[in-house]
Amino acid sequence: MRAVLSRLAGALPTLCGVVLVTFLLTRVLPGDTATYFAGPTASAESIAQIRTALGLDLPLPEQFWRYVVALSHGDLGMSLTTGQPVRTELITRLPASAELTLCALLLAIGIAVPLGVLAAVRQGSLIDHVCRVVTTAGVSLPVFFTGLLLVYVFYFLLGWFPAPLGRLDAFATAPAHVTGFYLIDALLAHDMETFRAAFAQIVLPAVTLALFALAPIARITRASMLAVLGSEFIRTARASGLSGPTVILTYALRNALLPVVTVLGMVFSFLLGANVLVEKVFAWPGIGSFAVEALIASDFAPVQGFVLTMAVLYVLLNLGIDLLNRAIDPRARRGT
């Protein structure tokens, strides 16, 4: 418990760094925040007015203090394009992004781990070569392009999936809000029709993201399985006459999964970034597409709020991965 608390405390400086950087991005670098906030048609007078209203004429440390105080109230400013507080926008859109990212992650793990294990067990076989091609090609894929290819093949040519227009088609109504995840909410409401509709919409974007996340997971699974399979306790287990599957699944895989859990941190960094592109391709109403719309409209507060939210999420995810690692690996517990 104490170790957990100390790890939590260790994340605090990182969080402070994140807040400082998001502040610096707007205030110190060239580029005039007041002009951004005022919009392209503003006069010099109204820009000056906005500067005073936003406190941009104050000394920097005081501005930073105000920013931190506003943050501690959960105040991320107003979005000029939608006229809503940024926080409300982000909260209503976050479940869409989270649902997509989690589905993609589960799919990627579900394919990549067995693939990596098989490639390691049958080294040099066909499946090993498949694994190598997938890991090299996977990191080369521009997600926005693979997404479009999938849309062309599976929507336009084959017609298996609906048009890439968000989480539900225009005729369906969203299920009652419980978790914000349409798939789960629909199941809770026993509404199989909505579930099927939401499922059909999420398949293509989730597959696009998963293709991208697959490569690092498969690569690390293969490498760490190979390392574990060559170790002495596996030889002993084999020599003791344990069956192949027992040795591989209970002895080797359990140990090999530790580096896989660690690499998930990097995978999340990729996924959260790629999410923005995939949301744009599939008109997915998540926080990524919200940020992109704001960027194009030069509406800065949402972008800043988005960057901060993503960074805080990412720090928390890494913290969670760390704690998970500690829970499954006694050696990591002894480390601190």
């Binding site: 991005l25 392009f145 970034g273 592109l277 960057v307």
Partner: protein, 304 residues
Amino acid sequence: MSASETTPVDVAAPAVARATASARANSFAHIRYVLGENPVTLFAALLFAAYALMALFGPLFAPYDPLASDTVRALRPPDWHHWFGTDQLGRDILSRVIVATRIDLGIALASVALVFAAGGLAGLAAGFFGGWVDAVIGRIADTIMAFPLFVLAMGIVAALGNTIPNIVLATAIINFPLYARVARAETLTRREAGFVDAARLSGHRDGALLLLQVLPNIMPIMVVQMSLTMGYAILNAAGLSFIGLGVRPPTAEWGIMVAEGASFIVSGEWWIALFPGATLMLAVFCFNLLGDGLRDIVDPRRRT
């Protein structure tokens, strides 16, 4: 100078020359061996040459003006006149794809060169001096790593302004921790090496030690790093222009061209997005393969 004094040098010089020549022959043999063993690397090298030619002389090959629109011939699928078809304004997609090579590779190369210099030197200093220098550089790298990288790049470009130099800068910043870490780790293993001690004893100062002794030795690994991150830099820049940051239409650039083609995919005009997207993908693939191949040549221990 008498003849007897020069004799030892005269004797030694051919031996040294022989040793260098044989080392060089060895490394050539090694490169040939790696290329022969791994034809994929050879393929990547040829592909790279093709991209380099397109980047340097692209506008000369391009059959049409990449910006000339011809609304009569808009949205034509590929045929003999337009191998890659035409876009919604009747511009020749093949010409646009070729001409875009220079700007896409240029952005990636500029950002990689920038981070190579900045990250490499920072890592070198962190590894060599340790102490507070290491702590400060480590903190900066950690703070950058605390962001999902593409999101940070979006934030930087949005804050600094939507221009190409800022795309270059943002791409360099998000790669900084990687370079600083590799350079630091490589420096750490060499800091205590015999040749560094020897140079220190013969009166070199820290700066000279760093630049003349340590830097040349970590160079090969850093070059491999450059090749490996080129692909990522291209993807990043194209991704930013796909969401409307950086290069602006009507400039021919792969990310923008895919974005322009995106709205036509659902009505079946596949060629507008496919050709620039595939060219982009192949470029990234080429750099990743090349990086893996270079790593095999420079550092055989890390082969996977």
